[in-house]
């Protein structure tokens, strides 16, 4: 049996790793997006007691290697009597880490948001919350679309780190097959194919979303 035939016979293991990766990725990236939006909203006010610690937290996360955060959640939290299993530690680490990146991307765009539009909203009787969610946030998301696409790919790749805290995802599947049959090259080539395929599909989707914003004059696709 050739090495490729061995891998083909073990394809169920790849598929289950792949679905696990996609599940982790989908859940954590959705949570990260929500965290990013929530942080941007909290940064809206001019209350330094809230905004200064938040900025420090965001910067702290961005300057931290992702793997360390995953370690902290999985091995460090039990010291405080909080026990998350590997899967939830991984999802939580990804969500918080990339949530901070999202927040930073949004914050950059918010700085250049036209103040006249905010004034127009106030003049029409909008209060902070509705103004943020209906007028500011949609525009910020459209404007930062290419950066968000980039961040999604980073997040996808970071899921591979979770093999180190024993999460059974795609890289773990390749790892285990290469260990069992001594065929590392072929096993890892297969997972590269998976990661590439997902990335390419995401790129296409993000690009298609660009048409929506281009129609509104946000960028040119």
């Amino acid at each position: 049996m050739s090495n490729w035939e061995i891998l083909w016979s073990a394809r169920d293991q790849f598929w289950s790793g792949f679905f696990s990766t996609m599940e982790i990725f989908g859940l954590s990236i959705s949570a990260a997006f929500a965290i990013g939006c929530g942080m941007l909203y909290l940064l809206e006010g001019s209350r330094p007691r809230l905004t200064v610690p938040l900025r420090v937290f965001i910067d702290g996360m961005r300057m931290l290697p992702f793997l360390i955060l995953a370690y902290l959640l999985y091995y460090g939290l039990p010291a405080f009597d909080i026990r998350l299993d590997a899967w939830w530690s991984g999802v939580g680490a990804l969500a918080v880490y990339h949530g901070c990146y999202f927040a930073e991307i949004f914050r950059g765009a918010r700085l250049t948001f036209p103040p006249g539009q905010v004034e127009a909203a106030k003049a029409h009787g909008f209060t902070k919350g509705k103004m943020f969610f209906r007028l500011i946030l949609p525009q910020i998301v459209m404007q930062t679309r290419p950066l968000l696409g980039n961040q999604l790919i980073y997040a996808l790749k970071d899921t591979a780190f979770l093999v180190i805290i024993t999460v059974q995802e795609l890289t773990a599947a390749a790892n285990s097959l290469s260990g069992t049959y001594f065929i590392p090259t072929e096993a890892f080539i297969v997972v590269i194919g998976f990661y590439w395929a997902v990335s390419v599909v995401m790129e296409i989707i993000i690009k298609q979303c660009g048409r929506f914003s281009a129609k509104r004059g946000f960028d040119h696709v």
């Binding site: 036209p114 006249g116 539009q117 004034e119 127009a120 909203a121 106030k122 003049a123 029409h124 009787g125 909008f126 209060t127 902070k128 509705k130 209906r134 007028l135 949609p138 525009q139 459209m142 914003s213 129609k215 509104r216 004059g217 946000f218």
Partner: protein, 273 residues
């Protein structure tokens, strides 16, 4: 309604004085002062605007015209003085404290503002720019808001562009949409902050025509402008600001032909030349 009040005016004079009294006050500004970094921009400004009146505010750049207008809906916070819109004080509650944001938003919604730089919301199409605040601030139903919005777009000559996005419109078209957007709130007073200053000269006319139509329909309006001919044609009252002081307030005929101050005379001469 007008005829009725004249025919009844004699009989009802004592029982219902407000019916025969002159038009009610739409905006009342008292002792308004405002400084930016120690520079006095408005100094003890008093201004009354009656319902249905068009007041234009003239003055050179930096005279405080825009600041005065922006104080009316509290986009700028005055340092002292008071502003009432339809009898309701803005910005300060009965206890003399800063108004809670929700209450402030409600009073603001009684005014409509049109900006120099339009400030349309670019992610929404023309129709949704106009319906956004009626639905999400006033709580109108979508159907009701859209029907009203289409009427207003018709009024400003923009109904053909209801589905277009702001980025595809000319400056004059954007400003007409912005006027419709402000009107959709059914404000008691419309505030125009140099509505034609950012427009190409050939687009100024279409916007001024819309504002002129509104004045004919009896809207209460306060217009900060540099357009002298327009001011003369539409105003019930012309106000001249100089270094934060109102130095002249008159009907347009008097203002433009026989101003009482040397400063205004010089200003008008320069404009004509």
């Amino acid at each position: 309604m007008f005829e009725k009040s004249t025919s009844e005016s004699v009989r009802s004079e004592q029982t219902t004085p407000e019916r025969t009294a002159p038009a009610r006050t739409a905006v009342s500004i008292r002792h308004l002062s405002k400084s930016f970094d120690g520079v006095e921009v408005l100094r003890d400004v008093d201004l009354e605007v009656r319902e249905g009146d068009v007041v234009t505010i003239l003055g050179s750049s930096g005279s405080g015209k825009s600041t005065l207008l922006r104080c009316i809906n509290w986009l700028e916070r005055p340092d002292s003085g008071s502003i009432h819109i339809g009898g309701q004080r803005i910005g300060v509650n009965d206890a003399g404290r800063p108004m809670p944001v929700r209450e402030l938003a409600r009073v603001r919604a009684r005014t409509g503002m049109v900006f120099q730089s339009f400030n349309l919301w670019p992610h929404l199409n023309v129709l949704h720019n106009v319906t956004e605040a009626p639905i999400h601030v006033l709580g109108k139903s979508k159907a009701e808001a859209e029907t009203h919005a289409r009427e207003l777009l018709e009024k400003v000559g923009m109904s053909a562009k209801a589905d277009a996005y702001p980025s595809t419109l000319s400056g004059g078209q954007k400003q007409r949409v912005a006027i419709a957007r402000a009107l959709a709130m059914q404000p008691e007073v419309m505030l125009f902050d140099e509505p034609t200053s950012a427009l190409d000269p050939e687009l100024v006319g279409e916007v001024l025509a819309v504002i002129r139509d509104l004045s004919a329909e009896g809207y209460t309006m306060i217009v900060v402008t540099h357009e002298m001919a327009f001011s003369r044609a539409v105003s019930d009252k012309v106000v001249f600001l100089d270094k934060g002081l109102i130095i002249e307030q008159a009907d347009p005929e008097t203002f433009f032909t026989n101003p009482s101050t040397e400063r205004v005379r010089k200003f008008l001469e320069r404009e004509e030349s």
